[in-house]
Symmetry: C2
Subunit: 353 residues, 2 copies
Amino acid sequence: MTSRSESNPVSFDRLQAFLSRGLEHAGLPAEDAGRVATLMATADLQGSDGHGAIRLPQYVKRIRAGGINTRPDIHVVTERAAMAVIDGDNGMGHLVMSQAVDLAMEKARNAGIGWVGARNSNHAGPASLYVRKPVEHDMIALYFAVGNANHLPPWGGAEMLLSTNPIAVGVPAGDEPPVVLDMATTVAAYGKVKAKAKRGEQMPEGWMIDRQGQPLLDPKRADEGFLLPIGNHKGYGLALIVGLLAGTLNGAAMGRDVVDFNHDHTTPTNTGQSVLVLDLAAFAEPSVFKAALDHLIRDLRNSERLPGVERIWLPGEQSFGKRREYAERGIPLAAGLVKDLAALAEELGIEPL
Amino acid sequence: MTSRSESNPVSFDRLQAFLSRGLEHAGLPAEDAGRVATLMATADLQGSDGHGAIRLPQYVKRIRAGGINTRPDIHVVTERAAMAVIDGDNGMGHLVMSQAVDLAMEKARNAGIGWVGARNSNHAGPASLYVRKPVEHDMIALYFAVGNANHLPPWGGAEMLLSTNPIAVGVPAGDEPPVVLDMATTVAAYGKVKAKAKRGEQMPEGWMIDRQGQPLLDPKRADEGFLLPIGNHKGYGLALIVGLLAGTLNGAAMGRDVVDFNHDHTTPTNTGQSVLVLDLAAFAEPSVFKAALDHLIRDLRNSERLPGVERIWLPGEQSFGKRREYAERGIPLAAGLVKDLAALAEELGIEPL
């Protein structure tokens, strides 16, 4: 283990190169490893630290266990002018969804909007990764995914048949940062529960309940309970709908068929994701839309605040700020993560971070 | 006032005919009055009683005040293979959105999916009204609308710049009722606050806060506070995104431009709504999808329940049950509403309910 692995923060390029080494060593072709590493490092760059470099050990384990197809034939199963379903052939989710987004953008350019769904995909990182490219091309994008472990029962239930199925939406602005919403349909994502446990803190009421329906506050007892959906039955409905649009509609796993990828490293997950892209130019002059959004953003940001509130944020604004800051000063990685990545580097016999 | 107006429940046909008389008397052409009345009565039939017959006095007032164009030229402003924007020319929202849904379905049949947005529309009743027709034709539909009064500040804010912007999604099943989600992005819709006030009840914590950010429990003080979004900042994000997709993208009102149609009966509202339709047949054999959804629905419904929970419901299942029951036995109208409609009938000089 070298001293470099403990240096902190790390540049985007150095992190990307390390992730790429790890993935290539595990078995991905060099080009694919580089592409996945770029998306993983981008996750850390925008502050989505639960879905970036932290996932490398798990991905490597899965690839080496044969749970990922390292030479996938990602192909279109069916398509029309404005939609397609692609089969990811159990490849890395990042590769599958990158292809899906490119195809959806191409269709949107012609038909005004484009929808591409994927089956036989895998975990692809934070939802918002896949709305950023359309946004850079004056397109609105919506992304729906089936999560890779069920932590949520139907409302009133005690059996975890649903995941935290996330939604991301990106909307291009003019001078202002784009509006980017990236949210699980549960009050807290499961990673936040794990983080509370690590820090020895209690959870606030409303995150989880136990099997008696009582508030569960000790994150170390998380296995004895369930996450709560946002807005009670409403979040349950949203999680279900996202699962239908991203899973069932694509012939991907949903409900009982979802494979818990934290505990099972070999069964193909048949992960489903869908992306919808709307080309601003088909609706009106993009500059007119973007100016209207800038105006709205400023109205919201500068509006009257509740006592004690320092600032009103737009969705994605804090992440946008981090991206700028980290690109300049480097990405701060948690000490525990740096240690884990160093251990992995040693295990794989690759140059450390 | 005749005794008939107090009879209760009322058949769908009788309610529809009464609503049609009222709208025609107020100034809508007979055919349009009939179409709007059918959608309004359908709202009551499915239990959406905050958006059906109860709205007649307000609609009549608005039409008579000149706030609605009774002879609108509802037309396509721009279109591509899979999308269109229509201008409702300030006609009744029900007419505008019916046309939007038909066009979206036609586009979905050809391109696989279809998106139609509307500007210069008006309040169109419950969101779920507009996903039912696609569902009956083996299509999934998503509906987004900008609400007609701002009751929600941005998260941390004290100025109501957003509405309860609702989402509806309809998904066709096989032998099971369709999954139909219809939800405001706030914990409680404003109508529920008014209902609590009428019954002299307190609101539960979590519905509203006052201008100090403290829980507001007395619904009679509703004017002193704001609705809370589901999942705190997440619901704020959702309300904003729905507003962008249904309002800003269509060149319709959003933020400060939203006209409060409860207090202003003449200014055109420039209401925006959008509908997205996905044709199941473009994705796979519809019967395969519907069988998979039936299977999932039964897994959810029959899964283990929390103590004290009698039944797990699917989104839209209770509304589906009401629709069946009310079609057979008649629609129960609240005594207060029957009285209001009788008074309106007398005022207009039309045959009462």
